[in-house]
C-alpha cells in the first residue's frame, strides 16, 4: 500500500479501495468472451490471433478438396487462459464456421443468435439458483466482431439482417479484416458509406453513449466512432522490415506492417478492445444486454404464473401455457430449453 501524499491525521484512506480491488482482481482473474461472425476467408482467425498475440484458434475454412462444405453455421468455442503481469484472463473465442458460406444463406444467423441468448439464459439460471456460486461463471458474449466484405459498396442485405439482430443481444464491433486490398480512398469511402447505412437502419454498434461519460470519454468514443468500421490487417507472421522484426505481410510490391497506423487500424482496434474499453465491454454486456434479456424472461415467467393462478382460481383445466416463449425461433426460455455451455 503506497503512502498517500496527505498522510496526516485527517487522511481517512478509503482511496486505497482501487488497490484493494486490484489485488482481488489479480487473484480472481476474469472471463472475456468474443464471438467472430463473418464468411470464411474474411481473416477472422488471423485477426483474433494477432490481437492477442497468440495462436488461439485455427482457421476453420475449407482447405483440402476432400473437406466437405458445411451446410449450416456451426458454433465452435475455444477457451484458453492467458496471463499478463499477474493478471489472468480466461479467454473464450467463439468461431462460427459455415456462416454465410452457402448459396442460400437464409437463417444462417439463427445458431449465432441462439448461442448468445443461451449464454444469457445460462447466467440467469445460475443467478436464480437458491444456493448460487459466490462468483457466477460468466460465459456471456462480451464482444461480437462482425466482419464486413472489403470491396462491397456498403452493407449487403445479409449484413443488415444480421446486424439488426446481433446489436439487440450483444456489443457489436464492425470490422474490415482484409483491408490490404483497399486503397486509402476506397477505405474512406467505404467507411463513410457503412456509417450512413448503419444510421439509416438504426443499427447501434458499440460504444454506446452513456450519461456517465466524462468529457474525456466522449472525446475518445467520438474518435472511435470515426474509425468504424475498423479497417485492419492481421498477421501471425513475423517479417523483417528495415532491419526490424514486425508482424506483417510481404507482397510483391511492398511490405505491410500491421502496427503501422498508416497501413491499418489494427493498433486502434487492439487498444480499443483491450486497453481502453475492455471493462466497458464486460460491464455493458451485464448492465444492458443481460439486463434486457433478464427483464423480458422474468416478465414472461410472471405472466405465465399469473395465467396459471387465474386458471386455478376459476377451477379450470390444468393450465396450459397459452403464450409461447417469445420471438421464436431465436429465444431460449430459461426453463424450457436445454442450455448450451461454452
Amino acid at each position: 500500500m503506497s503512502a498517500s501524499p496527505n498522510d496526516t491525521q485527517d487522511y481517512v484512506g478509503f482511496d486505497t479501495i482501487t488497490q484493494q480491488m486490484e489485488r482481488k482482481f489479480l487473484k480472481r482473474g476474469f472471463n472475456f468472451n468474443v464471438i467472430l461472425v463473418g464468411e470464411s476467408g474474411m481473416g477472422k482467425s488471423t485477426l483474433i490471433n494477432s490481437i492477442f498475440a497468440s495462436h488461439l484458434i485455427d482457421t476453420q475454412g475449407r482447405r483440402a478438396a476432400q473437406e466437405v462444405i458445411r451446410k449450416t453455421t456451426e458454433i465452435s468455442p475455444v477457451t484458453q487462459t492467458l496471463e499478463e503481469n499477474g493478471v489472468r484472463v480466461k479467454l473464450t473465442i467463439v468461431d462460427t464456421p459455415g456462416y454465410s458460406d452457402q448459396c442460400n444463406n437464409e437463417g444462417c444467423w439463427i445458431p449465432v443468435i441462439k448461442y448468445i441468448k443461451d449464454q444469457h439464459a445460462a447466467y440467469l439460471e445460475r443467478e436464480l439458483k437458491p444456493l448460487r456460486d459466490r462468483v457466477i461463471v460468466d460465459t456471456r458474449i462480451h464482444a461480437c466482431l462482425y466482419f464486413l466484405n472489403p470491396g462491397s459498396r456498403g452493407l449487403r442485405p445479409l449484413d443488415v439482417e444480421v446486424l439488426k439482430r446481433l446489436t439487440e443481444v450483444t456489443n457489436v464491433i464492425p470490422i474490415i479484416a482484409k483491408s490490404d486490398s483497399m486503397t486509402i480512398e476506397e477505405r474512406t469511402a467505404f467507411k463513410r458509406r457503412i456509417k450512413e447505412e448503419l444510421a439509416f437502419h438504426r443499427i447501434v454498434v458499440f460504444p454506446y453513449p452513456s450519461d456517465e461519460d466524462t468529457e474525456e470519454d466522449r472525446v475518445l468514443n467520438a474518435s472511435i466512432r470515426e474509425l468504424i468500421p475498423f479497417a485492419v490487417v492481421g498477421s501471425e507472421e513475423v517479417i523483417e522490415v528495415n532491419g526490424k522484426l514486425v508482424r506483417g505481410r510481404r507482397h510483391g510490391w511492398g511490405v505491410i506492417n500491421i502496427f503501422d497506423e498508416s497501413h491499418s487500424d489494427f493498433v486502434h482496434l487492439r487498444n480499443f478492445m483491450l486497453r481502453t474499453h475492455l471493462s466497458d465491454l464486460v460491464e455493458v454486456t451485464a448492465q444492458r444486454h443481460y439486463e434486457q434479456f433478464r427483464t423480458s424472461q422474468l416478465r414472461q415467467i410472471k405472466e405465465l404464473r399469473a395465467q396459471q393462478a387465474a386458471a386455478a382460481a376459476t377451477g379450470g383445466a390444468p393450465p396450459m401455457p397459452s403464450q409461447a416463449p417469445p420471438q421464436a425461433p431465436m429465444a431460449s426460455g430459461v426453463m424450457h430449453q436445454p442450455m448450451t455451455q461454452a
Binding site: 482447405r63 472489403p150 443488415v160
Partner: protein, 330 residues
C-alpha cells in the same frame, strides 16, 4: 479515363501497344470486326466492373454509386447489362460484347442466379437453332452466344465456396468458363500459389468443367502445345484491375496506390491480367469461339433435338474436354 482516349471514339487505344507478342492471327482479315461475347459473373466487390473497364481500356461502366441508402438492404435481383466496345488487337478488329451480371450472389438466397444465367445462355442457343432452321435466313443475324464466361472467385485463401462450385458445375456445359481470382492483390505471392493449387484440386475433385486450354485434335505446333500447358499451369488467373493510369518513364501504366507500395496491373509479377487479356482478345479468341460453336452448341443442339439428357448427349459426342483433363494437371 485519364489516359486520354484517341480521337476515334470507336476504337480504344491500346495501353499495351508497345508490347509485341506472337499470336494466332486467323481472323486478321475480318473487316467488319469479329464478334466476341463475354459474360462476367461474380459477387459485387470482386472487381468485375473494374475488370471490364481495364479490359476495354476505357470507362465503359462508371462505378455506380448507389446514392440511395434506403435501397442498400434490398437485394437487387441479378440483371444482365450489355456493353459493346470495338477493339483492335494486333491489327484484328473485334466487336467485344460484354454481358455484366450485377446482383449475382449479393442476396441472402442466391439459388436463383444459376437458373437465370443458364436460361440466358440457352436462349442464345435457341435463337441460333431457330435461325438455322429457317427457310429464308437472315444474313445480318447477330450471334449472341456467349463465347466465354469469366467467373470471379473471392480471394479467401482457402478453397472454393459452395456458390463457386455450384455455379461452375451447373454452367460449365453451356459455356467456356474461365475462373479468375478477383482482387488478387489481397494475397501475398505465397498465399496465391497455395490458393491456386487448392482451387485446382477442388476443380479436379468435383469434376468442374472449366476451359482448360485444350490442344486441337491435330495440333502439332510445339509452341502452341507449350503455350497451352503454360496457361493451364497459371489457372485460375489472378487479376487486379484498376482505372487509374500514371506515367512511368513516359509510358502509361495502370496502378493501384497503397501506402506500402504500388501494384502495377500490367506487371506479370503483380497480376495475370495482361496474360488473360491476351488470351481473351488475341491468342485464344478463335479457340473460344470454335469450342462454343463446335462442341458446346452442338451438345445443346443434340440434346434439344433428341430430347436426350446431357449425359446421353455427351456419350454421343465422345465427351467434352473438361475436368478430365484438369485431373492430370492438378
Amino acid at each position: 479515363m485519364k489516359d486520354g482516349s484517341g480521337e476515334d471514339q470507336n476504337v480504344a487505344p491500346s495501353v499495351y501497344s508497345h508490347v509485341s507478342r506472337p499470336g494466332s492471327h486467323r481472323y486478321k482479315n475480318a473487316k467488319k470486326g469479329l464478334p466476341f461475347n463475354v459474360m462476367l459473373v461474380g459477387e459485387s466487390g470482386l472487381g468485375r466492373t473494374t475488370f471490364l473497364n481495364t479490359l476495354c481500356e476505357r470507362m465503359v461502366v462508371s462505378k455506380a454509386e448507389k446514392t440511395n441508402t434506403e435501397q442498400a438492404h434490398i437485394a437487387e435481383p441479378m440483371q444482365f447489362k450489355h456493353h459493346t466496345v470495338e477493339m483492335e488487337e494486333d491489327g484484328m478488329k473485334i466487336i467485344l460484347n460484354i454481358i455484366d451480371t450485377p446482383g449475382f450472389g449479393d442476396g441472402i438466397d442466391n439459388e436463383n442466379c444459376f437458373m437465370q444465367i443458364q436460361e440466358y445462355l440457352e436462349s442464345q442457343f435457341d435463337e441460333v437453332l431457330a435461325e438455322e432452321n429457317r427457310i429464308k435466313r437472315n444474313t445480318k443475324f447477330k450471334d449472341s452466344r456467349v463465347h466465354a464466361l469469366v467467373y470471379f472467385i473471392t480471394p479467401t485463401g482457402h478453397s472454393l465456396r459452395e456458390i463457386d462450385i455450384e455455379m461452375m458445375r451447373r454452367l460449365g456445359s453451356r459455356v467456356n468458363i474461365i475462373p479468375v481470382i478477383g482482387r488478387s492483390d489481397s494475397l501475398t505471392p505465397r498465399e496465391l500459389v497455395l490458393f491456386k493449387q487448392r482451387i485446382m484440386n477442388d476443380i479436379a475433385q468435383y469434376e468442374i468443367p472449366v476451359f482448360s486450354f485444350p490442344n486441337g485434335e491435330d495440333e502439332e505446333d510445339e509452341e502452341t502445345v507449350e503455350e497451352n500447358a503454360e496457361l493451364r499451369a497459371m489457372m485460375p488467373f489472378a487479376v487486379v484491375g484498376c482505372e487509374e493510369v500514371v506515367n512511368e518513364d513516359g509510358r502509361p501504366v495502370r496502378v493501384r496506390n497503397y501506402p506500402w507500395g504500388m501494384v502495377q496491373v500490367d506487371n506479370d509479377e503483380h497480376s495475370d491480367f495482361d496474360r488473360l487479356r491476351y488470351v481473351l482478345l488475341n491468342s485464344h479468341i478463335g479457340d473460344l469461339r470454335d469450342r462454343t460453336q463446335n462442341e458446346i452448341y452442338e451438345l445443346y443442339r443434340t440434346e434439344k433435338l433428341s430430347g436426350a439428357t446431357v449425359a446421353d448427349a455427351m456419350d454421343d459426342m465422345g465427351g467434352l474436354q473438361h475436368g478430365a483433363q484438369m485431373a492430370s494437371v492438378a
